[in-house]
Amino acid sequence: MSTPEAEALPPATPAGKMIQTLVGIAMLSGFLVVLTYQLTKPIIAENQRRAIEAAVFTVIPDAVVRSDFVINDKGLTPVTGEESVEGVLIYAGYNRDGELKGIAAKAAAQGYADLIHLLYGYDPGCECIRGMKVLKLAETPGLGDKIITDANFVANFEALDARLNTDGSALANEIVTVKAGSKQNPWEIDAISGATISSKAVGKAINQSAKQLLPAIRPHLEKLKQPPVLPDQQEVADD
């Protein structure tokens, strides 16, 4: 709130002194902030890497190794080091033998309170979605957050059909969320009753992302199927 007015006018301070103080404080604070930043940066990066990795491995069953790619109009580029390429980031997951088990991507859609951010895993083998993990949500506790905890809802994403049409340019069937308990087809998501808006948002996010991404990925599947560098070597390559 407001600060009390200076009780009495202090003796005039020369402008030089003021500038001196401000510059001094600015340098001190700059030093402290940069120091903290440098100290915590590797830990934070490691935390984030581990969080993403854990999420990727939950949505791609059996995956133990991951490599990241950026996909855009020009094609597929592996992510190396600090260089950033414009495009959509995807994570390819491989098992111990270097076999491609699935591809994970982020998606988001407006839920009840705010955007719901999630990660889903696509299995090119069965052309279906094999897992979904909510990364960030602000939904009503006890209602909207059932999209994380409700076992029946999560079961929707064990094998959610995401086949492409014959010329591979779009999804054969759009992924839709249907009323709780009325799921008929493998590309439908059973909503949670009482959390319809949140359930719909999940379906919408996956549908929007999948119908753009999956046709774009298809031509590059062979490249993605190449076994990745082994994890210990990958660590070195990352640095």
Binding site: M1, V33, V34, Q110, D114, K200
Partner: protein, 193 residues
């Protein structure tokens, strides 16, 4: 994500994610200056104005910070620039429109330490809004703040005329009123679904 439509951003900031009633930003003035309608209105206007100014500032600073890859200075830069922007606005108003200054002036220094202003700057950065989106977001947040503080002031003016138990005199009753308002604003959530 930066893909939301402008009208959605506006409605979201005014109603569903109202800065005061859903995000708890700017509570100090909300509780402090909401006693009378005729002080609440200028306070709301001044806040809205500062929000627009600081939204533009924050957008520009962020551009600079990102270009030089010094995002870790963001917080310090935002707060320093917002504080000086408010001072500049105050001086400009005083010089060119003394009438407006007299009605808004006393509120401006208070606004610098209003969480809503810094919150707006931080949220628009996290949500990766572009320039126009940021501006609309600021306008929405300002309108939302004004709406909340006006509603509150209206309620409290009525309350003054009624008999209340002595223990409710003070902030407690304002908070409970705030809770009821917030409850009713929750009905707006889901507008975007």
């Amino acid at each position: 994500m930066g893909t939301e439509t402008l009208s959605f951003i506006f409605l979201n900031a005014v109603l569903a994610n109202n800065f005061v009633l859903a995000l708890f930003l700017g509570l100090c003035p909300f509780l402090g200056v909401s006693g009378k309608l005729n002080t609440a209105l200028p306070m709301g206007l001044a806040t809205m104005f500062v929000m627009l100014v600081s939204s533009v500032c924050a957008y520009l600073i962020n551009l600079v910070l990102v270009t030089f890859e010094i995002e870790f200075l963001r917080l310090i830069a935002y707060i320093a620039v917002i504080a000086s922007a408010v001072q500049l606005v105050e001086m400009t108003l005083k010089k060119f429109t003394p009438g407006l200054f007299r009605s808004l002036g006393i509120f401006l220094p208070l606004i610098t330490t209003n969480c809503a202003i810094l919150g707006l700057a931080l949220f628009q950065t996290f949500k990766e809004y572009d320039f126009l989106q940021s501006l609309v977001y600021a306008l929405g947040a300002g309108t939302g703040f004004m709406l909340a503080i006006l509603l509150m002031a209206g309620l409290r003016e009525k309350l003054e005329l009624s008999t209340m138990p002595t223990i409710t005199q003070g902030a407690a009753v304002s908070l409970i009123l705030g809770g009821l308002l917030s409850l009713s604003f929750m009905g707006f959530a889901g507008l975007g679904g």
